[in-house]
Symmetry: C2
């Protein structure tokens, strides 16, 4: 594995002070595991446990903003010290969503079992579930899984943990980085899952990030908040906000390298988390339940609300997404999506560029090298740029195409 295997997208900046590490292994102070508990019918691993052994661990978290948040999310928000999470218990194969009071009690039981096996306080245990909605958790299996996971904990258990949190994912979204800071070297690791029910705005799927850097809970929260906004909140597979999304950053402090606010250390460390989360979010888009290509839409204009609305409308348009799937430079559909996001403004002057080639100016077609554009949209990553009237506002959204595999997966993926 080369040092740039993880940073495979041209949209993620290469950082000279960041090196990817091969294989498995968590930062100092962490142990993890993943076991098969029989929740998934396939028999694949489905219970993961992540434990931070440092007494003074710090953390920060973000959750889905859905009105129908699943019990594990409600539990984390209500009964967790989110600035001091020591352990995380995750199950896949069942989202424990739309399960009511019993679902909340089951999430509480998972938290209790996690506290027991990790030997930490209950409010230091976060819980997460992912999978089918509306089916009660099989608690017997979950509990046995948690006990087995506790026995399997190891310093290189991130690989098994990563396996255990996946559902319809086609490939692993796991990374280990070494970061050179002025004050010393720290490590970052992360495991994410997500392929469908991924939406821009609030969206976070499941992503767990660990570091042995020494951070205050405030710094954890600040860095996570900024990076989520630039990564998971800017991607879309199908415009669907999940009931269970969660991103968690945990810091063990075991490297002894302290990240003080407003220092070069913080800047460089932040850059690394930013790159890591951007690349992970792009991997989620690339895995977008059968996706073939990833698109990036950049929108410029005078009003922040308008550029955001337009970017999301283009990213979520099934017509734009099917054209991307077909490798079809059908920019008329982009104009359509822009117009739909800006009702009542006709005639609106819109410029559209595909891979730097202007195909539409002032909402009208312009002559261009159609063959070059047709060639460009058949690549793995396709960039669209849109100019609305005005200046000063800009945003981007990354999105997957929409193809037959999405239909196959979602027409058959069961209740």
């Amino acid at each position: 594995m080369s040092s740039t295997a993880f940073f495979r997208s041209r949209w993620v900046e290469r950082l000279p002070h960041v090196t990817e590490l091969p294989g498995g292994g968590l930062p100092e102070g962490f142990r993890a595991s993943g076991v098969a508990a029989g929740i998934k019918e396939s028999g694949a691993p489905d219970v993961g446990l992540m434990v931070c052994d440092a007494l003074e661990a710090t953390s920060a978290a973000r959750f889905t903003n859905s009105g129908t948040q699943a019990p594990p999310v409600l539990l984390c928000r209500e009964r967790c010290r989110l600035d001091a999470v020591r352990a995380v218990v995750v199950n896949a194969g069942n989202a424990n969503a739309a399960t009511g009071r019993m679902g909340f009690e089951n999430a509480a039981k998972m938290q209790g079992a996690g506290a027991l096996v990790a030997r930490v306080r209950e409010d230091q245990v976060a819980v997460a579930s992912t999978g089918v909605i509306g089916v009660p958790l099989p608690m017997g299996k979950v509990n046995k899984g948690i006990v087995a996971a506790a026995h399997a904990l190891s310093a290189d258990g991130d690989v098994a943990f990563s396996d255990a949190i996946q559902t319809t994912d086609a490939f692993e979204k796991r990374v280990r980085l070494s970061i050179e800071l002025p004050s010393g070297t720290v490590k970052l690791s992360a495991q994410a899952k997500g392929a469908g029910m991924i939406s821009p705005g609030f969206a976070t799927l499941l992503c767990f990030v660990q570091t042995d850097a020494l951070l205050s809970a405030e710094t954890c929260d600040l860095l996570l908040g900024v990076c989520v906004k630039r990564s998971f909140e800017r991607v879309s597979v199908d415009g669907q906000l999940s009931t269970n999304d969660m991103v968690l950053l945990q810091a063990s402090g075991q490297s002894g390298v302290r990240i003080e606010p407003e220092t070069e250390d913080e800047l460089r460390f932040g850059e690394a988390i930013d790159a890591l989360m951007r690349q992970l979010s792009l991997l989620v888009v690339a895995d977008g339940e059968g996706a073939r290509r990833v698109g990036r839409v950049v929108v410029h204009g005078g009003e922040p609300d308008a550029v955001d609305r337009v970017a999301r409308a283009v990213a979520n348009s099934p017509l734009v997404k099917t054209a991307l799937y077909g490798g079809d430079p059908n920019w008329g559909r982009i104009v359509q999506a822009v117009g739909a996001a800006m009702p009542g403004t006709a005639p609106l002057a819109v410029d559209v560029l595909i891979e730097g080639v202007k195909v539409c100016a002032g909402s009208a077609q312009v002559s261009h090298d159609a063959e070059a554009v047709a060639e460009a949209v058949k690549r793995d990553e396709v960039e669209y740029e849109i100019f609305l009237p005005g200046e000063g506002a800009e945003t981007e959204v990354y999105f997957s195409d929409l193809g037959h595999e999405y239909i196959t997966i979602n027409a058959d993926y069961t209740t």
Copy 2:
């Protein structure tokens, strides 16, 4: 053809005073035609002409609210007496959208040619285009088509006209009705096209309605406005607002039956237009580019904005739509879509019924006859009912499923 062939959906009320008429034939005072002008590569009919010979014709129209309205829409709004439209020129195969000033001039030329051949004033001619976006209209072909269409005008030209306005439609959306009113018998005919780029809200696709009833322009406008809100504004194929949508109602008055405001005549006539447009809009959904099933989502709650937002979120959710395609009673995805439409309200209590069976109460699963529900969602029409907190607000949206055919059509349908 039986008298209920058109009113095939259980969601359109049967009206004892309305009878469907077989075959073709326009109400008194109208002639129409459709010809192949070579705009469509397939060689299928692509220019339609509808002429009302009554000097005192009245009319009303509604258009897409897109910010990137196509030149024919802009032209109709700016240069048409929309309350007195005598002729309509339509081409399919090219939307004349995103074509800028030249597109506007071409729309004006279509209007001019229509006026010439129909022998009416230019501002009495409406123009409409549908098809590919961003390609200049081949005006030589269009003009030849208009001339040929003028020669082909006939009182039963509605069949050919209906053919000429279609694009990706899999079947005809045309109807002829006879309506018994207290003051006499009148006729209604309509031709619609639409299968993709169909969105709730503003959406209207192309639909032309003719009657020989005698209506003031104000009554035309009132009836059309009310009926559009209950039909084309409540359907979704793919949540995509078109650049070219238009609904036009024309009245020749040739039956001599006058529809006075606030009379039994107006009520019954309104019921007939309402049923006609609801059934046409349902046919558009059923034709939803490869659709297999049509869903209806009814949302109840305390706030009109919230019930509308939730209904559209469910109707446009690719996860709900693929489940409908798969005949899968995956109500968890409905809960997900509801939560996404109501961010920041967790925990939100939601009830969900499928075909009258309660599957979720207070956002938690309830035991139910899963086999009966699984059987019900495999039928042609599936009804979902959602209860949000509160009372007094209710709305509905009709939607198509999302299947492989949509992908095939839209990944290959070309620029």
